[in-house]
């Protein structure tokens, strides 16, 4: 299938990727370039800096692609260079049967008609990545019953394993309290790693991530904030663990929250079919996105959405291996009408796009109807409903960014209520401006300004 250089250009994530790709156009950099007889897939090996060449392939039809290089860009420079050469010099590609690694990839990848290559992974940090494929099961009642029984046994075994791991976590936490939290930072890395490993062994991978990431967040904080952070974070982890043990006594939504925090995944099709999952159709604005490299080496790409009612928020999450970065589900400022289905929760936030309409004209910024005190109060209410609530999106109306003693803060219009912000140079041009609205990711300690509607036009944080 023909591929044009213009299409390659359109696929590039940024100009520097194209520039980097242009340097790889020498045939000598490519030990292998081949395509199948039907011209449906092309593949190659690029001599990179690693000991073995990178293996990459792409489908000529929908341009789905993969590369084994560690680049966080997608497509990476190797893929762009391979596509580029395919567009300009298809004769350089020998005809061959796809090797096993290409066939495997083709078999695993989601067909183009099912949406973008990277979208909608199952819930939970252990989601298997962007290339997962939903395989239809044959309809066989007996087999279904057996499978259900197997799932139930497996679930029970997993729950038992998690509870056992949580008991070990209790012992670990008591040890930390016994030794004293003042010296916790000195042993945090090794201690948290060991505790996280035990949780992973017990199949509580979600909670393991919280424990594993604790030291990284801890050392990123000012020294004065560390003691408080350790108490709140360990307390949060304990609350979640205690809730999981008592999940039978919890309301359904909170029980789902507890299971999800442990890493119990809910697959896309299960969520879409779940009658308890709230569905909201609205006009959404992408307030911004951020990419987090998790301790388990997965990239978590978060896209934060604000509804036009100025109150409702949503979080779309995509997981991908760190070797293949993906774009956010929507770029900052993008507006669209969509039906979102929310994961059942006492404080619904994480969602998945069930149906998305065409793009709408961009707004000047996220809509917001609450003042800063009201937005904080709403967050507190959500925290009360979901005691281990993590990051939350606050939509604040009529605010101002100020410099309070050298630290950035969001204040209400009269400058009394304040919300400390992480000090990012990128937001400093907003200092002193009267903001019609602002979207802030709030983690309970400090906020990260994501977007604002200002007299100088919309502002979005750069990733």
């Amino acid at each position: 299938m023909p591929l044009s250089v213009a299409q390659v250009e359109a696929l590039a994530p940024d100009p520097s990727s194209l520039a980097a790709a242009a340097k790889l156009l020498k045939p000598s950099a490519w030990p292998l370039m081949a395509r199948d007889a039907a011209d449906s897939v092309a593949w190659g090996e690029a001599q990179g800096s690693g000991s073995a060449p990178y293996r990459l392939s792409f489908a000529t039809g929908d341009h789905g692609s993969r590369c084994s290089c560690p680049s966080r860009k997608f497509p990476c420079k190797h893929l762009l260079a391979l596509m580029w050469q395919y567009a300009e010099h298809p004769d350089r590609f020998s005809r061959a049967e796809p090797p096993a690694w290409v066939s495997d990839w083709l078999a695993r990848r989601r067909p183009a008609a099912g949406g973008p290559v990277v979208s909608g992974p199952p819930a939970g940090p252990t989601a298997p990545g962007p290339h997962a494929v939903a395989v239809a099961s044959p309809v066989d009642p007996e087999a279904e019953a057996q499978a259900a029984a197997r799932r139930a046994r497996s679930q029970a075994a997993r729950t038992a394993g998690i509870v056992e791991a949580l008991d070990a976590l209790d012992v670990w936490m008591r040890d930390q309290l016994q030794e004293g939290l003042a010296t916790f930072p000195q042993r945090a890395r090794a201690a948290c790693r060991a505790a996280a490993q035990r949780l992973v062994d017990g199949k509580a991978a979600g909670l393991a991530l919280l424990v594993d990431e604790l030291p990284y967040t801890l050392f990123g904080l000012p020294e004065a904030s560390r003691a408080g952070f350790v108490v709140t974070e360990l307390g949060r982890i304990h609350l979640a663990a205690a809730a999981f043990r008592r999940q039978d006594a919890l309301p359904g939504a909170l029980r789902a929250d507890a299971g999800r925090l442990m890493g119990v995944a809910q697959r896309r099709e299960e969520l879409l079919a779940d009658p308890a999952a709230p569905r909201i159709r609205a006009r959404w604005t992408a307030a911004g996105s951020r990419t987090v490299t998790q301790a388990d080496k997965l990239l978590r790409v978060e896209t934060w959405l604000a509804a036009d009612d100025g109150e409702r928020t949503a979080l779309l999450v995509d997981y991908t291996p760190a070797t293949a970065a993906v774009a956010a589900a929507a770029s900052s400022g993008e507006c669209f009408e969509a039906e979102l289905v929310f994961y059942p929760s006492a404080a619904p936030l994480r969602a998945m796009v069930a149906q998305r309409g065409p793009p709408l004209p961009a707004r000047a910024g996220p809509a917001a109807r609450h003042t800063l005190p009201q937005a904080v109060a709403a967050h507190m209410a959500r925290l009360a409903a979901l005691p281990w609530l993590g990051d939350d999106l606050l939509l604040v109306a009529e605010a101002r960014l100020t410099d309070g003693g050298g630290n950035l803060q969001l204040t209400d219009a009269d400058g009394t209520a304040g919300l400390p912000l992480t000090d990012r140079d990128g937001a400093r041009p907003l200092l002193g401006l009267a903001l019609r609205s602002a979207a802030v990711i709030w983690d309970g300690r400090a906020g990260a300004l994501l977007a604002a509607d200002t007299p100088l036009g919309p502002w979005f944080a750069t990733r």
Binding site: V376, G418, R428, G432, G457
Partner: protein
């Protein structure tokens, strides 16, 4: 848990329960003893999480100044950010000053929200940015105070040189006295730098000071002094240089018409006419050779001598003579060679520099030279008529056709395109059509930005 109980619990946790027992907490009185520490941890942590953020802190803080100039329109902003995204320093520092000048000339200013992304590009371009950009660049620096005659020694080297130059332009003797008063106390590098300020308004009154400085032990200072003395008519260095030039030039009569020709014989191996005639004016040279001043240009025997005489004419301020000589040069003069005219060219009024540059853009001009040098010498975009000439040159088409096919061409194209006036950006874009856009992404962005400047004169769109 009361605040007092919480404080007691936190103190015990900090020290370690092995050293300080957990104080009683009324709410946990009924809980089993072994469960109390973790329950107290969860309660204390949750209390902290449920505590609203502290009130806003007062503080004037830093903010960008106001500027009434209209903001660059969004399409031009987007192109500007694409152009400089992860740009290499050489490109950024060559293209940015020229483009900033065009933006200012079109009546726009940079959007403050883009300053964080352009920070690396703008740094060091103090002379090309407005008050808002300068305030952004200085945001971490202590407030800058204007230097005075009393405080000028307290400034940085660049500021001090600037101050001395300004002072020199207003009152050469006072500036010299200031420099003389502190000269011995300065570092060798700074002594050499500050001496260059005397080039402005250089006259016989400076001779005594310069002769005193000639005894300086630093080689850099000696060189600076020699260069200045050589420019001083009547100084021994100048007289020696004039004598050497006269010895290298002889007037010979050749041919049927016995026309007088100026023939150059290098006084030293590989010395060029331009080097030999450096620092000399055309009138004094003619006088020393015993030739009428007006006749000398017509006597130039070859292009190298014409080039050198043009330089001498520029030094005298005889622009018409210089342009006439440049026009007679038979071999194409690469515009970048104007650099060889040194300060004589750089100090010309901008419109005259444009005249000289335009004169060098002739049909036979070879366009593969160093455009960076050309741009640096011109220090402004090309005048529209000169740019139009460039676009129509057969050499331009040949230049584009001769570019390598398989690599990114931004590095080659940007130095030329940075000189394109906005009105001709669409025409230059058209001329690049045969080159795939993927090979020139930054060039495309630059021309798009310029085209936006031409398409949106601010007077029509400013609020």
């Amino acid at each position: 848990m009361t605040p007092a109980e919480r404080d007691g619990v936190l103190a015990a946790f900090s020290l370690g329960l092995g050293r300080q027992a957990l104080p009683p907490v009324a709410a946990l009185a009924a809980a089993p003893a072994e469960a109390r520490p973790l329950a107290a941890l969860a309660m204390a942590g949750q209390l902290m999480r449920l505590t609203p953020p502290p009130p806003a802190q007062a503080g004037a803080g830093w903010r960008l100044p106001e500027d009434a100039a209209p903001l660059l329109p969004d399409p031009a902003r987007a192109a500007l950010l694409r152009l400089f995204e992860k740009a290499d320093a050489v490109t950024a520092h060559y293209v940015a000053p020229l483009l900033l000048r065009q933006i200012a000339a079109a009546g726009w200013r940079l959007h403050p929200f883009d300053l964080p992304q352009l920070d690396g590009v703008l740094r060091g371009l103090d002379d090309h940015v407005g008050p808002v950009e300068r305030a952004w660049l200085d945001r971490h620096a202590p407030p800058r105070e204007e230097l005075t005659a009393d405080t000028w020694r307290e400034g940085g080297s660049a500021d001090r040189l600037r101050f001395l130059q300004a002072r020199r332009a207003a009152d050469p003797a006072a500036a010299r006295a200031l420099l003389a008063a502190s000269f011995a106390a300065e570092t060798a590098r700074l002594r050499a730098e500050l001496l260059t300020a005397l080039d402005i308004g250089l006259g016989a009154d400076d001779a005594a000071f310069l002769h005193a400085c000639a005894a300086d032990r630093a080689a850099g200072v000696k060189q600076a002094v020699e260069a200045l003395l050589a420019k001083l008519p009547g100084s021994s260095a100048h007289i020696a240089r004039l004598a050497a030039a006269c010895a290298a030039l002889t007037v010979e009569s050749k041919g049927v018409l016995r026309r007088a020709r100026l023939v150059f014989r290098p006084p030293a191996k590989s010395a060029t006419p331009l080097q030999t005639l450096d620092q000399l004016g055309l009138a004094e040279l003619a006088s020393a050779l015993g030739v009428a001043g007006g006749a000398l240009p017509a006597m130039a025997g070859d292009d190298a001598v014409r080039h050198a005489l043009a330089s001498c004419a520029l030094r005298d301020g005889a622009l018409g003579v210089a342009l006439g000589l440049l026009g007679q040069i038979e071999e194409p003069v690469w515009p970048g060679d104007l650099e060889s005219f040194g300060a004589a060219y750089a100090n010309l009024p901008a419109d005259v520099r444009q005249d000289v540059a335009a004169r060098t853009l002739r049909d036979e001009a070879a366009l593969g030279g160093d455009w960076r040098r050309f741009g640096a010498q011109l220090d402004a975009p090309l005048r529209r008529d000169a740019a139009g000439t460039l676009l129509r040159l057969p050499g331009w088409t040949a230049f584009l056709a001769g570019l390598p096919a398989e690599r990114n061409l931004d590095g080659t194209l940007l130095p030329v395109l940075a000189l394109v006036p906005p009105a001709l950006a669409p025409a230059f874009s058209g001329s690049l059509a045969p080159i795939p856009a993927v090979r020139r992404p930054r060039a495309t962005a630059l021309l798009a930005c310029l085209a936006e400047l031409a398409a949106r004169p601010h007077a029509e769109t400013a609020p």
